[in-house]
Structure formats: structure tokens, C-alpha cells
């Protein structure tokens, strides 16, 4: 025990032992680097997870290009663009929340985390209205799908992928919001400062990743038929 204290006292900090430093790490810096690397390894598995669905999207789009344009035409571009903006705003407040932790601003963390959560909720509310519209227009794959549409079977495939991709993305948003609530509670209790902000940092990585998925979903799902609409096609 005595040797442990002596070792900590002569650690890389040169003074004392940060209570947030877990004993299997050499320094706070190494601890943050290891956590960041670990989070990225998890995010790579997430890239591959969404990648499989994007692959299905690409393949069926190559096989049924007209159905994809027709299906895309049913999506609400305004709401999709609005949600893109909302997510970009949430990414800014997330980055600022991490920065606030880095400069030990408790108030900055709380304000920015609350804003991030609110933007996340806004996204989900907009998504709810979009889904509702799809149900009303019989565009949800299944027995109630409007089979009078041109290339209905192929369009149904487009909507299957639309609901799968956006649904799993929305599920990630919900997980992200819960994660931010936990981080917010920790921030309120003053758990983070310039010397220790690893949980804020790696939760932020997750949040930005979910934003990146949407950055690709928006043009790939919503904008395929936009040039036809603009030219009265």
C-alpha cells in the first residue's frame, strides 16, 4: 500500500494521483487516448453495421433505379433538410459541451448538453410527423402498401430500406439522448473538468457519428427525385 502511494506520488504528474485515474493506466493522457481508441473501434463496428444496410440500398438502387427515384419523390425534402440542420446544430452544441469540459466550465457543459438533448428531441419529433405522413399515404411496406403506384413492388423495397435505415438511425438518436441525460447528470454534479472529461469526449464521438450517418442518408433517400420535381417531371 505504501509503495503504491509512493509510486503514484512519483507518477508522470509529479504531484499526487488524480482520483479519476484508474490504476491500470500510466497517466490521465494515456487513459483518455485508450478510451478514445476504444470508442473508435466501437464506431468502426457501427460503420460496418450501417454499411450492410447501405450496401442493400446501393444494390437494389442499381437494380431498380426508376423505383428509387419514384420512392424518393414521396419523401418530404423540406423536413429532411430541416432535420439535417437540426442535427448539425446538435453537433455544434455537442462539440461546445466537450470544449466546456476541457476549460472546466460547468455552466457551459450544462447549457450545451441541454441544447444537444433538445435538438435531438426536435429531430425525433420531426421524424414522427414524417412517419405519420407515410402511414397516412399507405407508403409503409406491408398489407396496406398502396399497390396502385407505378413499380409498387420495387417502391415497397425502397420504403423497406427507408424505414430500416431511418428507424435504426432514430434508435441511435434515442440511445444518444439517454446517454446525454446521463452525462448531463454527471456534469451537474461537477464530475468533469480539464483534467478529466473522458466520458463527455467519447459520448460526443457517438453523437457526431449518428450525425454523420444522417449526412449520408439525407441526399441518398430524399434527393434522388429532386431534379425531376424542379423541372416539372
Amino acid at each position: 500500500m505504501a509503495s503504491h502511494i509512493a509510486q503514484a506520488a512519483h507518477g508522470p504528474e509529479g504531484h499526487g494521483h488524480d482520483p479519476n485515474l484508474q490504476h491500470h493506466f500510466y497517466s490521465m493522457e494515456q487513459q483518455l487516448e485508450a478510451s478514445t481508441l476504444g470508442m473508435w473501434v466501437f464506431l468502426v463496428t457501427e460503420i460496418m453495421f450501417f454499411g450492410g444496410m447501405f450496401m442493400a440500398y446501393i444494390l437494389y438502387r442499381v437494380l431498380y433505379p426508376e423505383a428509387w427515384v419514384l420512392g424518393s419523390h414521396h419523401l418530404n425534402v423540406t423536413l429532411g433538410a430541416l432535420n439535417t440542420g437540426v442535427l448539425i446544430c446538435s453537433s455544434l452544441t455537442m462539440a461546445l459541451a466537450v470544449r466546456s469540459a476541457q476549460v472546466s466550465s460547468r455552466k457551459g457543459q450544462i447549457v450545451n448538453l441541454i441544447l444537444t438533448i433538445l435538438f435531438g428531441c426536435t429531430f425525433l419529433v420531426v421524424k414522427y410527423f414524417e412517419y405519420k405522413e407515410k402511414f397516412e399515404h399507405h407508403l409503409v411496406p406491408g398489407p396496406h402498401f398502396d399497390m396502385s403506384l407505378p413499380q409498387a413492388a420495387q417502391q415497397q423495397l425502397f420504403f423497406s430500406l427507408y424505414f430500416m435505415l431511418t428507424g435504426i438511425h432514430a434508435a441511435h438518436m434515442i440511445v444518444g439522448i439517454v446517454l446525454m441525460l446521463v452525462i448531463l447528470a454527471m456534469a451537474i454534479r461537477g464530475r468533469f473538468s480539464a483534467s478529466y472529461y473522458t466520458p463527455v469526449e467519447i459520448s460526443g464521438l457517438y453523437w457526431h457519428f449518428v450525425d454523420i450517418v444522417w449526412i449520408f442518408l439525407f441526399p441518398l433517400l430524399y434527393l434522388l427525385g429532386a431534379h425531376l420535381a424542379a423541372h416539372g417531371g
Binding site: 493522457e29 487516448e33 450496401m55 483534467s195 457519428f209 431534379h227 423541372h231
Partner: protein, 100 residues
């Protein structure tokens, strides 16, 4: 220990505004008919936006070389998935197979 670099708020706001402008560009590019280039242009803009988020918002530029390799490898493997799958599906009709 004080080695971690704090990015100025100005940089984050600049990236934020750039991302919003690129979203506008995505829309303008989509309503314009580029023919076969329609999707490549949309993907190029999306890739630029994603890169800005990864490099600045996620702070990969300050991460260790090992983390950078993991990030690049993740996207590289994604392109292997897309590339080899399409390589299969898009070339199936190229050669006539007797008896099929």
C-alpha cells in the same frame, strides 16, 4: 498533462456554418440535373461534410496516429464491402454461361 489542445469556439462555429452551407449546396446540386453525375456529386459533398465532422468536431486531428489509422481503416473496409459486392453483382451478366 496540459498537452490537450482546446479548439477555439470560432473554429467550431466556422465548421458549423460551412456544414450548413454545404447542406444548401447539396440541395441546389440535387435540383439541378447533372445526369449520371447526380449521385457522385451528392456523395462528394456528403463525404466533405462527414470529413469536417470527423476531423474537427470529433477532433481526430489531435488524436494519436493509432486512432487515425483505425478511423481510416474503418472507412476503407466499408469501401471493400461496397466494391467487392458490386464487383460481383455488376459483372454477372458479362459472360454468357452455357446452360443458364
Amino acid at each position: 498533462m496540459s498537452a490537450h489542445i482546446v479548439t477555439p469556439v470560432r473554429t467550431y462555429v466556422f465548421i458549423f456554418v460551412t456544414l450548413l452551407i454545404l447542406t444548401g449546396v447539396t440541395y441546389l446540386a440535387a435540383i439541378h440535373d447533372f445526369g449520371a453525375l447526380h449521385t457522385p456529386i451528392a456523395l462528394a459533398i456528403a463525404l466533405a461534410k462527414a470529413s469536417l465532422v470527423v476531423i474537427y468536431f470529433m477532433g481526430v486531428r489531435y488524436n494519436t496516429p493509432l486512432t487515425k489509422v483505425v478511423v481510416v481503416a474503418g472507412f476503407f473496409w466499408l469501401f471493400i464491402l461496397f466494391g467487392l459486392t458490386l464487383n460481383d453483382y455488376l459483372t454477372r451478366g458479362w459472360l454468357g454461361v452455357p446452360g443458364r
